[in-house]
Each structure stands twice: as C-alpha cells, then as structure tokens.
C-alpha cells in the first residue's frame, strides 16, 4: 500500500511538472509575442504541438543510441524531479526528497544532457555534434558561478541538502536571496545560461546550426525532448525557489515564485542577440564569477 502511494505520488509529481512546464512554455511564447507587437499563440499551444509531435510517425533511426538519447533525457528529468521538494513541509508527495543532496543533484542533472548528446552524436549530423560541443562548453561556463553560489549556501548553513536549506530559511525567517544576496545574484546569472534563452541559445542556434542537436529528431523523439525539457524547466525553477526563496507552502505560491524567477531569463532573452560560444563562457567567468567569489567570502565571514 505504501509502495502504491509512493508510485502514485511520483506520477502525480511528474504530471504536475509536465503541465506546469508546458504551460510556462506557452505563456513565454505569448509574452514574447506581445513584446513583438503580436497576438501570439494561445497559452496551450505547446500542448497541441507536443500532441501533434507524438502523433507523427517516426519512421527512421540512425541507431539505438539515437532512440536512447531522448530516453536518457526523460529519465534524467523525472529522476531529478523525484529529489526536488515541490512544497515545503511535505505539502506534496515527498518522493525521494530526503534521499539525496545538492551535490548529488548537480551530477544527476548532467545525466540527461549527456545521454541526449550521445543520441545526437549518433545521428551523424555534423550540426548535432557542433551543437553538443557548444552546449557542453557553455555548461562548464555557467556551472562555476552556480556551484559557487551553492557552496556559499552550504557553508553558511552547514548542510548540503535541499530540505536542510529550506528548514534553515524557515527558521531564520528570511529567504536566502536576502540573507546571502551575492550567492543569489551569481546563481541567477548562471541561470541565464541554464535556461538557454537568448543570448545563451547557442546550442540550437537556428541561423547557425539549423537546430543543433535535435536536427535529426522529429516526431516522437522531439516530443520526448520537449516534454522532458518542460519537466526539467520545472525542476530547475523549483530548485531555485526552494534554495533561494524559501520554498512554497502551496501550489499557488509555488507558481507565483517560479514564474517570477522564470521571467528573468525570458525577458533578458527577448532583447538580446546570441553570444558566440567563447563569449558566452567568458561572460560567466566575468561578473557571475565575481559575485560567486563575493558570495564565498561573505559566507565564510558570516
């Protein structure tokens, strides 16, 4: 019985993440369209797109790794989701919230992209490979300030677990974005890269690489990537909210907080051209790194 509850809880979490992530994607399209002076598609357009993609035939593959690539991505997203506390105080199914910590999560989050990279590699399309190398290079860029921010928090609160950080915030009564502002700034700047909106959309840059790693993937492959991407967006947003904004007591607050965080990369992206790869990496090793160091100093002093 307990196992059944666990499984149902996990499925409910996945569905929540999928719906929220997809809707956010649609809303982003709507907002972008408004900035463009357009009406834009309805907010549920992404669901239609996903459903259509699922309905398309997928007649070919270039080898089993191409099929496994999206599977890796999906697995990574779902498993990572299991470790993220959705609401504070067990307001949602706890899944595996207490079984892993932040460093574990950092590595788990790489699992999917690496699998996807392998899948993209097998298609034999040079654009895919170039896109992957760009993505990995950029990842090295933004992970540094991101980890600095996390380490700063870990030092400050003597814990590496997400639930521990959430409890620490509940006890102190302030959010970490106020109690360790430098870490928050570094993490937000790193987040720009993590969400891959312009100017950091170098991986699938259409005018340069057609669409990069997904060049050969249509139909069901693309559906899987799209939905796992949505889940992953939810994971990342919830992680930020949990770590820096004290988590959320109920779903409405969760949506408000995640959405407000999400708007940072989206709005910055609308008015920015794309960086070249090395420029993107250097960006992350400029101000974000500086704030990361500040955060570490701040954390080790206080």
């Amino acid at each position: 019985m307990e196992l059944l509850t666990h499984i149902l809880g996990a499925i409910a979490t996945v569905i929540l993440a999928f719906v929220v992530g997809m809707s956010y994607g649609g809303i982003v399209r709507k907002i972008t369209a408004r900035v463009h002076n357009r009406i834009g598609p309805p907010w549920y357009q992404n669901f239609i797109d996903a459903f259509k993609l699922y309905g398309k035939t997928t007649a070919i593959h270039h080898g089993w790794m191409q099929i496994m690539g999206p599977a890796f991505l999906m697995v990574s997203s779902v498993v990572t989701l299991m470790f993220i506390p959705v609401l504070t105080n067990g307001g949602w199914f706890p899944n595996l919230n207490f079984e892993g910590d932040l460093i574990f999560l950092l590595y788990l989050m790489v699992f999917g992209p690496l699998g996807m990279a392998l899948g993209a590699g097998q298609t034999g399309n040079p654009n895919s490979a170039i896109g992957v190398t760009r993505g990995l290079s950029q990842m090295v860029g933004f992970e540094i300030p991101w980890v600095m921010a996390l380490v700063a928090l870990m030092i400050q609160f003597d814990t590496t677990s997400i639930t521990g950080l959430m409890e620490a915030q509940a006890q102190s009564g302030t959010w970490n974005m106020f109690s360790s502002p430098f870490a928050f700034i570094a993490a937000v700047l790193a987040m720009l890269g993590m969400f891959r909106y312009s100017p950091f959309d170098i991986v699938g840059a259409p005018t340069e690489l057609a669409s990069g790693p997904v060049s050969e993937n249509g139909g069901k492959y693309l559906f899987t990537m799209m939905s796992s991407g949505s889940i992953f967006a939810f994971v990342k947003l919830t992680l930020y909210v949990d770590i820096f904004m004290g988590g959320a007591d109920n779903l409405v607050i969760l949506l408000l907080k995640t959405f407000s965080i999400y708007m940072i990369p989206v709005l910055y992206g609308i008015v920015s051209p794309r960086y070249r790869t090395e420029q993107a990496i250097r960006f992350f090793w400029g101000w974000p790194l500086f704030f990361g160091v500040l955060a570490l100093i701040y954390a080790s002093i206080f």
Binding site: I60, H61, H62, Y107, L118, G124, P126, T159, E278
Partner: protein, 617 residues
C-alpha cells in the same frame, strides 16, 4: 615455506619462463603468463593474512615483508587489474614481436608493485620501486617509437624521483640507523624541523613523479600513450597508484605528526587541484585517444592527491575509493582504446568514427566507464566525487572545491569527445570492415565495467577494506558515520541513499522503454548516417560529415589564458641548458631494451656494493 616467498618466486620464475618460452612456443608462453598472474593472485587472497610478516637479512641489512590492511586495498587494484589486463593482453598483443619480453616485463611490474606493498623496510621498498620503474620504462619504449622524446622524459623524471627517494632513505638511515618504515615513523617527531620537512619533500618528489603530480606530470601523457595499451591499463590504473600509496603513508604517518604541517598538506592539496585542472584542460585539447586518457589520468590522480592532501577521514575515503575506481574505469578505457587500435590501426579521433554498430560491446564498456569517469550516478565514479566534494566543503576548502568542480565539469567535455570520436558520428565506408574485438579482450572490459556499476550502488563493498586500512593508519572507524553498504553521509549528516536511486532510474527507464521506445522501435527502421538533413544537399562521397577536428575549439579559446602557462617548455629550456649532460645520457641510452636492462642491473649491483659507503655517511 612462507607463502610470501612462494608468491615472489612464482612471479620471478614466471617472468623468466615466459621470456624463455617466448622464443619457443607461443601458446605455452601465454599459458605460463596467465598462470603466473592468476596463481599468485589466488595464493595471495587465500593464503596470505594481514599482519603476517617475514624477516630476513640481506648483506647485513634486516628486511621485513608483510602486507598491511592499507596495502591490501592497493593489492586489490594491482592484482585485479593485473589479471584482467593480463587476459586482455594475451588477445591484444597477439601477433606482435618480442612478446616474451613484454610478458616477462609485465609480470615483473606486477611483482614489483606487490613487492612495494609488501615492503616494510625502505631498502626493499626502494629496490622494488626501481624494478617497477625499469620494467615500466622498458614497456614505454617497447614500441620503439619516439624513444628519444618520450622514453628519455620518463627516464629522467623517474631517475630524479628515485634519487630524491634514495636521498631521503639515506638521510633516514643516518638519522635513525634503521631501515624499517615503522622506525622512521616513530622516530620522526624527534627530528629537527628542517629534517621533518626535507624527508617528506624528498619522498613526495619520488611519489609525485609516479602519481603525475603537477609539476612532475610532464612525462605522463607521452609514456601512457606510448606503452602498449594492455600495459597502460596497468600503468595508469595501478602503477601510478603506487605513488598515491607512498604519498598517503608519507602524509598520514609523517606530515600529520608535525604541528605546523597543515600548510604542507594545503600545498599538496592545491598541487592536486592544479594537476586536476591542468590535466583536464590538456585532455580536452587532445585529438588522440591515448593522449586524452593519459592527461585524464593525470587529472584523476589530481583528485586523489587533493583528497590525500586534505586528509580528513572523508577525504581519505574519497581518495582511496577514487584510486580503486580509477583503476577500474581507466583500465577499461585504455583497454577499449587498445581494442580499437587493434581493430582499426589508429587511435586518432579525427580518423576513426562511427564504430558503435561495429563494436557495440566495446562501446557499452566505454560508455559505462565514461559515466563512471564523469562521476554521474549511479556508477561508481560518483561515490568518490561526492565524498571528495563533501569533504572539501566540510573542511572549509571553498576555493579548492570550486577548482575541483571546474575540473570535473570540464571533464564532461573530453568524456563526450572520447565517445563521440570513436563510436558516434558518421559511419564511414573506410571502417566498414571493422569487427568487434575478440572475446578475451571484451570480457575483461565488461567485467570491469560491471564492477564499477556494482561499486556505484554498493560502495560499502570496497569502503569496508578501505576503512580497515584507514584505521590502521590511525583514523577512527568511518563506517556508519560516513557510509553504509549503499548509503553515504557527509560531515553534517546529509545523506545520499543509492539503492532507491538505482531502482527509480531503472523503473523510469523500463516504463519509458516499454511505453514509448519499444513500441516505437518496431515501426522505425535503421537508415544510414549518410541519410541526414544536410540542408537538402546530397553530400559527395569525399566530403567529411563528421565533426572531429577542433572539437572544443571555442572552449579552448575561452580557457586559453589558463593553458598558456604550461610547464613543458620550462623543462625543455632547462634541458637545453644541460645539453652536454643530455648528450652523454643519450650516448648511454641507445634505445635498445637490453642495454637498459643491463644498466639497471649494474645500477643495482653498484648500489649493493657501495651501500656501506653510501649509507654509512
């Protein structure tokens, strides 16, 4: 007769026998070779008990051999890897020239490593160390290519290391009058401060060379890539760990006894961190798989050195676990490269592409090892990485953790390069003939890959002996505090539970596979990798559609400032100044293996003859 003697006699006898049989019969030689590896391994695990020692006297010196708990961890690596790589070597080296020489050298290396682990006194330690160096040196020049460049580099660094070590030993003897390691440890706190510093530094130079610590790493990439791959698996996987073994003993038994020693350990840790970053960045820049793995080995040894330098119980656990894991996955990867080299004749990423469908098992083994190398759960590499980070964060090494994290994130780059370069990308007609490697090569790889998988879920299996070894070195028991069979804890009690992770991953995979992939897979058909959306054009036959040159060029451009200051030219400049000496050295080292062997023997004999003068001081 003592079992320890028997083991060494078998080794020695086997080495001679394989060398002689090599001239007579190939099959007999192979069988002898494998038997010489397997029999002592079995004997060791069944008959030799920890703490058991044998004493004997040689030309007036008291020597003592015996295995400790701590040495036992490394014995796992040496014998496990030795046997598996031996099986692999038989298949991999088939048809090569001068095999008897290769095999006997191989056996001598294994014997020397076991000897180092058994040595309880500095003399036999040094002698075995030299045998190890010489046998590995002969392996580096085995192929006969680039001996001047690569061989001499390795030789000079090894020699410098050996002399430093010898000086330390001589100094110790003059101070304590004993050759026993234990007596050094007990007498050490009584030395004056300059000696307290000098001895560890000299020893660490010796060990640092073997473990490729910055700035003594220069020899590593060339030597690792020039030795036959079957041996490099041992070379990088086990032999380099001897440096770590020595380093841990020095740091834990000696350095931690001096009150002001913590800065010394910081230096070591930072050297390790720099080694990791430098090795990783250079690995990213390589186009040759052997070189890539060689630099990657440097980087991985850097992590281990970081752990050793930090030296908290968790860090030591991490370092030792990583040492074991590194033996597993790096051994596998070198074997995979060897398999590819055997099947295609080259190890260059810009030439070989698209082998995934030709060599699926090699790919699988490489994939698992790469995941382990990258430290992605649920494979074993993750455990070591996790413990290292937790120990660094827990012991307030903030900047070091960032440095290490940078290195291990950048490691994803070369990990992908390795997999993509060989296995993915276009399937070119020029490699259409390639077949999977022989079973004797594949099976050891798969066994080791599975090993790293099992250790990823049940790290307790190997953490248990590590714990015993650490207790022997004076640490409190860590079981239950930092780890359980499949659970890890950090200083603050945060935990990672490994089994549910594995089960969740498997469950989601199965769910996904059954409902999406498998259903879909039946309907889809394989098409050639030439059938890609190349903007509507149909590529001509000669056009290269594989992206392999300048793989991470933008990244390297971004990290250019870091890579500009490399250490190699410094040595070259130094060497140019010493041209005259080098000329002389070159005259002695003719490049012929036999000459070196002769030289080694003369060196050992001279050492024995003049020992009294040397050691009498």
């Amino acid at each position: 007769m003592e079992m320890i003697y028997l083991i060494f006699i078998i080794f020695l006898g086997g080495a001679v026998a394989t060398y002689l049989l090599g001239k007579i019969n190939g099959v007999l030689r192979d069988i002898t070779f494998l038997a010489t590896l397997i029999v002592p391994a079995v004997l060791f695990y069944t008959q030799v008990s920890i703490g058991q020692t044998v004493d004997f006297s040689m030309s007036g010196m008291n020597l003592q051999w015996g295995i400790t708990d701590f040495g036992y961890i490394f014995a796992y690596i040496v014998l496990g890897l030795g046997v598996l790589a031996g099986i692999y070597a038989v298949a991999a080296m088939k048809g090569k020239e001068n095999l008897g020489f290769f095999y006997s050298n191989y056996i001598l290396s294994i014997m020397a490593m076991m000897g180092i682990l058994f040595s309880r006194d500095l003399v036999s330690f040094f002698i075995f160390w030299e045998i190890m160096t010489w046998s590995s040196y002969l392996m580096v020049v085995f192929s006969g290519k680039d001996v001047q460049k690569v061989g001499i580099k390795y030789f000079i660094f090894s020699a410098v290391g050996a002399y430093a070590m010898l000086m330390a030993i001589v100094t110790t003897y003059s101070l304590t009058g004993s050759m026993m390691i234990d007596s050094l440890v007990t007498a050490y706190p009584g030395f004056d401060f300059s000696m307290q510093l000098l001895i560890p530094i000299l020893l660490l130079i010796g060990f640092g060379v073997k473990s490729a610590m910055m700035p003594l790493h220069v020899w590593a990439s060339g030597s690792y890539s020039h030795a036959p791959m079957a041996y490099t698996a041992v070379f990088s996987g086990a032999l380099s760990k001897m440096g770590i073994y020595g380093m841990i003993i020095v740091i834990v038994s000696l350095v931690s006894q001096i009150p002001e020693g913590h800065w010394f350990r910081e230096v070591i840790a930072w050297l390790g961190g720099i080694t990791a970053v430098g090795g990783t960045l250079w690995a990213v820049a390589q186009d040759d798989a052997k070189k890539l793995l060689a630099y990657s080995s440097v980087a991985q040894l850097g992590y281990i050195i970081v752990g050793v330098g930090v030296g908290t119980p968790l860090a030591m656990l991490a370092a030792l676990f990583m040492a074991v894991m590194h033996g597993l996955f790096k051994g596998t990867l070198f074997m995979a490269v060897g398999a590819i080299e055997k099947q295609t004749g080259t190890t260059n990423f810009t030439e070989v592409t698209g082998l995934i469908r030709k060599m699926p098992l090699t790919f699988l083994a490489s994939l698992m090892s790469i995941i382990a190398l990258a430290g992605i759960p649920p494979l074993g590499g993750f455990i070591g990485k996790w413990m290292l980070y937790e120990s660094l964060v827990g012991s307030d090494h903030y900047m070091l953790v960032i440095v290490v994290f940078f290195s291990s994130t950048a490691a994803f780059l070369y990990c992908y390069k390795f997999l993509f370069g060989f296995f993915l990308g276009q399937e070119e007609p020029e490699w259409a003939h390639v077949k999977e490697a022989p079973a004797m090569m594949v099976v050891p790889m798969i066994i080791m890959a599975i090993g790293s998988f099992i250790l990823g879920v049940f790290p307790g299996l190997i953490l248990n002996p590590i714990d015993a070894g650490l207790q022997e070195l004076g640490y409190a028991s860590t079981q239950g505090r930092y780890w359980e069979m499949s659970m890890l804890f950090n200083e603050w009690g945060d935990k990672v539970v490994l089994q549910p992770i594995l089960y969740t991953i498997i469950a989601v995979f199965v769910f996904f596979f059954v409902f999406v992939v498998a259903k879909n897979f039946k309907k889809t058909r394989y098409v050639s990798t030439k059938d890609i959306s190349s903007s509507g054009e149909i590529p001509k036959a000669h056009e290269n559609l594989t992206f392999s040159r300048g793989f991470f060029q933008p990244f390297l451009r971004a990290v250019e400032p870091l890579m500009k200051h490399q250490i190699d030219p410094l040595y070259t400049g130094f060497g140019r100044g010493m041209e005259a000496i080098f000329d002389f050295v070159r005259r002695i080292y003719t490049g012929n293996g036999q000459t070196y062997a002769l030289y080694a023997i003369i060196f050992a004999v001279l050492l024995l003859i003049f020992k009294n003068q040397l050691f009498g001081l």
